[in-house]
Each structure stands twice: as C-alpha cells, then as structure tokens.
C-alpha cells in the first residue's frame, strides 16, 4: 500500500479533539503537579515543599502493599481470562441462529454499571442470602465469608473480574476468528489436519493481533480497577483487597491529603504512561509486521 500523503492541514481536523481533551486532561494535570510540590495550609497559605511528598509516598508501606497486590491481581486475572476467553470463543458457533443470542449474552456483563457489578456479587456471594455463597458454604460445608476472610475476599474479587471481563476477551477472539477466510479451513480439511493443528497453525497465528489487544486492554483496565472491589469488599478485610486506585481515592477524597495524593497520582500516572508506551509500541509493530 502506498504511504499516506503528508498534509499538515490535517491538524485542523484534529484540533477539536486536542482542545476538548486538553480541557479535561492537561488543566487538571497541572493542578496535580502544583499540589504535589506544595503544602496547603489554608486558602491563602501555601508552602513549597519540593519533593517531600514524593519521598513520603514512595516510602509508604501501605502503598507498597497496594502495588504488589495490584501486580498479583492483574497477573492472576490475565492468566485466567485470556485462555478461558479464547476457549469460549472457539466454542461459539461460526454461523447460525444462536450466534446473535451468544453475542448479546456476552455483551451483558460489559454493559452493567461497575458498581452494579459489585452489587450483584455482593448479593450473590453472601453466604446467607446469595446463591453462590450459599452453595459454597452450605453444600460444601466450608466456612466461606468474603467480608472477613482475606482468601475468600480475594477469590470473590477475582471470580467477579473473570465474570465481568472474560466476555471482552471472547468478543475480541471471536472477531478475530470470524475474519479467517473459509478457504483456510477447507485446505486444512483436505490435508486431513486434526482440530489441534488447525488451532495451532491456522487460528492461533491469525489471532495474534487481537490477542495482543486483549492482553494489553485487560492489563491496563485491571490496573485501574476501583469500583467493583470498592462496592464488594471496600478494600477489606483490612487492606487485603485495596488496589492502587482505591488507595489513591482514600488518600485524596477520604483523608483529603492533597499533597501526598497528588504526588502519588503522578507516580501512578507515570506507571500507566510506561505501560501505554509498551502497549503502543507493541501494537504498531504488530500492525506493521502482521498481515493486513
């Protein structure tokens, strides 16, 4: 394909986007930078404190805890959702009257407000009034309680996230699978290929691109998870399900520690920026190397 023409007048077309995103991103970000280096004592009294807040925040034990929990959570969630989503996408029929129903059902969890997802699982997993919790506690005779037992809380948060976001992976993989021309399968059938080799040598290579999108989108989004665990466990018991966003929100809005919160916001933002950079580089490289 011939390269796109160079035309700097295209800036005129992107200007509205630049303006509106600047309005909602750059101006607030400036405020954050401003707060991160000052101690605000009153409406008119503020002291420049340099990088003190950064030192404080980076040495904070609670933050370290939240950070490692965040990494563990994102890792576990990815390890479950990607293979599961791929397996389900392979099982969804390629055509026929059930396809629409499957797609709509898959979309439902993605369209439920995140706090309602929390509410659904808050109710569902309770041992006294919830079907799920009742089934585990009553039938298997385990003392299951996500509000007081850290392991149960973790399990419930992970299962909730798998329930909530696996459909996204399924839809991505399904879109990728549908883009494979029938001729590939016919050729495989003539060669007498087993279904495993069809998967290994046709489907998996063709899915590389959507799988990368899936992994990276899930990585990003799981890194900013807030609402669902907030409703379900409130970060507890103790701090065992407090992830980065929750930690930050507590600091900024709960305790109103503006300085440390701003300093941590910047650190958090830089972590995300690094992840986004990796994401973007990988994606554009795949876009160039992969087939159209």
């Amino acid at each position: 394909m011939e390269p796109r023409p160079v035309d700097n007048r295209a800036w005129g077309l992107v200007l509205p986007v630049v303006l509106i995103v600047s309005f909602s991103a750059i101006i607030p970000l400036m405020t954050v930078v401003n707060y991160s280096v000052q101690d605000i004592l009153g409406p008119t009294q503020r002291v420049f404190v340099g990088t003190d807040w950064f030192h404080d925040v980076l040495k904070d034990e609670d933050l370290h805890g939240a950070f490692w929990r965040q990494l563990l959570f994102s890792g576990v969630v990815l390890a479950v959702e990607i293979p599961l989503g791929l397996a389900i996408a392979l099982a969804v029929p390629r055509s026929g009257r059930w396809v629409s129903l499957c797609l709509v059902l898959l979309g439902i969890p993605l369209l439920i407000p995140w706090n309602v997802v929390g509410t659904i699982w808050q109710i569902f997993a309770r041992a006294d009034i919830g079907l799920g919790g009742y089934a585990i506690a009553g039938l298997m005779g385990v003392d299951y309680n996500y509000a007081s037992n850290p392991l149960d809380a973790w399990l419930t948060v992970v299962v909730m996230d798998v329930w909530h976001w696996t459909p996204l992976v399924v839809l991505l993989c399904y879109a990728g699978l549908r883009a494979i021309p029938d001729a590939f399968y016919q050729a495989a059938a003539i060669d007498g290929a087993s279904s495993w080799s069809v998967f290994r040598f046709i489907q998996l290579p063709k899915l590389r691109r959507v799988l990368i999108i899936a992994v990276l989108l899930r990585l990003m989004d799981s890194f900013m998870i807030y609402t669902e665990p907030f409703v379900l466990t409130g970060g507890g018991p103790g701090n065992t399900t407090t992830f980065l966003s929750q930690y930050l929100t507590r600091l900024a809005v709960g305790q109103f520690d503006v300085g440390p919160a701003a300093a941590f916001s910047i650190v958090y933002f830089l972590i995300i920026l690094l992840l986004s950079f990796v994401f973007y580089t990988v994606l554009t490289r795949v876009g160039r190397g992969g087939e159209a």
Binding site: V116, I120, F124, S276
Partner: protein
C-alpha cells in the same frame, strides 16, 4: 462437538446465574430475602420497582444519568470523526505523538483526576451540571472514539475520497454527505461504546455531582440505612440499570465484536 456445546452452555449458565439472582432478589420483599432461602421468589412482587418509579428522587437519577451520557456520546463522536479521518488519511507533524498522547488519556486512571476535576469544575461553575460529567468522561471516551473510528475509516478505500474530489465535491460536503453515510455502522458502534463507558462509570460521575444531577449509580448507595441494607430496592435499581445497555446491544450485535477489536479485524 458435543463437549464443546456442553462447555458453552455451562459457561452461559454461570454467566447468567448472578444476573438471575439479582432479578430474583428485586422481585422479593426484604422479609423474604432475609427469611428462608428460596431459589424462586415465593410471592413475586413489583413493590421495589413501584417504590423507585413513585419517588422522583429515585427515578430522576435515571434521567440525570441518561442526560450526561447522551451529551457525552454526541460530543465524543462529533469531535472524534474529523480527527479519526485525519489520522487515517494523512501524515502530519507530530501525528504519532498526538495519537500516543490521546492513548495515555484512555489509559489514565480516573482516580488520578478526581480531585483536580472537582476543584476545576467547581471553579468554572460547572459542578453539579450534566456538562461537568459529560466533559470529564470525554477524557477516556474521545480517545476511544478516535481509536475505533480510525479502524473503521481505514477500512474504506482511499479511492472513494479521490473520486469524490474529482466529481467536484468540496471537502465538507464530501465528508458530510458521502463519507459519514459510508461509515455509519462504524459511527453506530462508536456511539454505542461511548454510551457504554459513560454509563458504567461511577467514580467521576459521583464526585462531580451532588443533588441536582445525581446519577443513578450514586443514588444506589442510598439503600444503606440505619435499619440495614434494603436489598430488594438495591436489586431493583440494579436491574433497571441493565436495561438501556441490553436494548442497545441488540442493535449493534453484528458489529460489536469488530468494535471491541477497535475496528481492526
């Protein structure tokens, strides 16, 4: 083949069970919920729904939510369309950096922007108006819209633009009357995604509103009272939040997979 179908059915049953349970709870009274454990409501009642539709401080929160969600969707798609066209068709100074910058906004945690948004929108007098939330949600919806639309636009051959120019169409006329109708499915999918991500967001919507424009997601926290949780009412409000999305998804079901792949499949 049979094992595959069994696996799929099992998955969908597990997917629907928690939702079934929420619907089930919404049809029960609190006495029944806290009383005996039953799989099906003993005496189904619409009392919880009647309560919500009879109380303006409840049902107006739905209207408030829809208001800022629709505002945000219209705004995001309108500004993203020309930008996506520019990214898809031209190279210009700083295009890659600009795209990356947009991307970082999609990836930035809303929690980072919580406090500055609150102070900024208070300072400019937009706090507790639908505009505050609609503009705040542009932070992640505009980049997403550009991204999805760019994928769809790149699927349209460039020859069409050239032919239209040869036929004497000016750019604005070509864009509005030839190009936009060509990618209407892409626009539909993008609008759907903007609607969805604005509808499901709680943190910003809750922080930037108080009484006048309180969204439904924030109103749901009210069901905790001194007497304990009002489970039935909470479940009913939850069920009602699932309806707009489920209706919308039916319309875009054939394109939704492509939309999730950011138009790039």
């Amino acid at each position: 083949m049979r094992a595959r179908r069994f696996f799929l059915i099992l998955y969908f049953v597990l997917l629907l069970l928690p939702i079934y349970w929420l619907v089930c709870m919404s049809l029960k009274t609190n006495e029944e919920i806290l009383g005996a454990f039953r799989l099906v409501p003993d005496r189904p009642t619409l009392e919880n729904f009647r309560h919500i539709f009879g109380d303006p401080s409840w049902y107006m929160t739905y209207v408030n939510s829809l208001e800022f969600v629709l505002l945000n969707t219209a705004l995001s798609v309108a500004v993203a369309l020309p930008a996506a066209y520019a990214f898809s068709r031209y190279r210009f100074i700083g295009d890659k950096h600009l795209f990356f910058w947009l991307l970082t906004n999609r990836m930035s945690p809303p929690a980072v922007f919580l406090l500055p948004f609150f102070q900024f929108y208070s300072a400019v007098g937009l706090f507790d108006t639908p505009w505050a939330v609609a503009l705040a949600h542009c932070l992640f919806n505009v980049p997403l819209a550009v991204w999805i639309l760019e994928g769809f636009i790149s699927g349209v051959p460039r020859e069409i633009d050239e032919t239209a120019a040869l036929d004497g169409y000016s750019f604005p006329r070509f864009f509005a009357f030839v190009f936009v109708p060509l990618i209407r499915s892409g626009i539909g999918v993008t609008a759907f995604f903007c609607f969805m991500f604005s509808w499901v967001e709680l943190l910003l919507a809750r922080t930037l509103t108080s009484t006048a424009t309180k969204p439904i997601v924030a109103a749901m926290t009210r069901t905790v009272s001194a007497a304990g949780m009002d489970w039935g009412l909470l479940a009913a409000a939850g069920v009602l939040t699932m309806i707009p999305g489920t209706i919308l998804i039916w319309f875009v079901r054939n394109y939704i997979a492509k939309g999730f792949a950011l138009g790039r499949v």
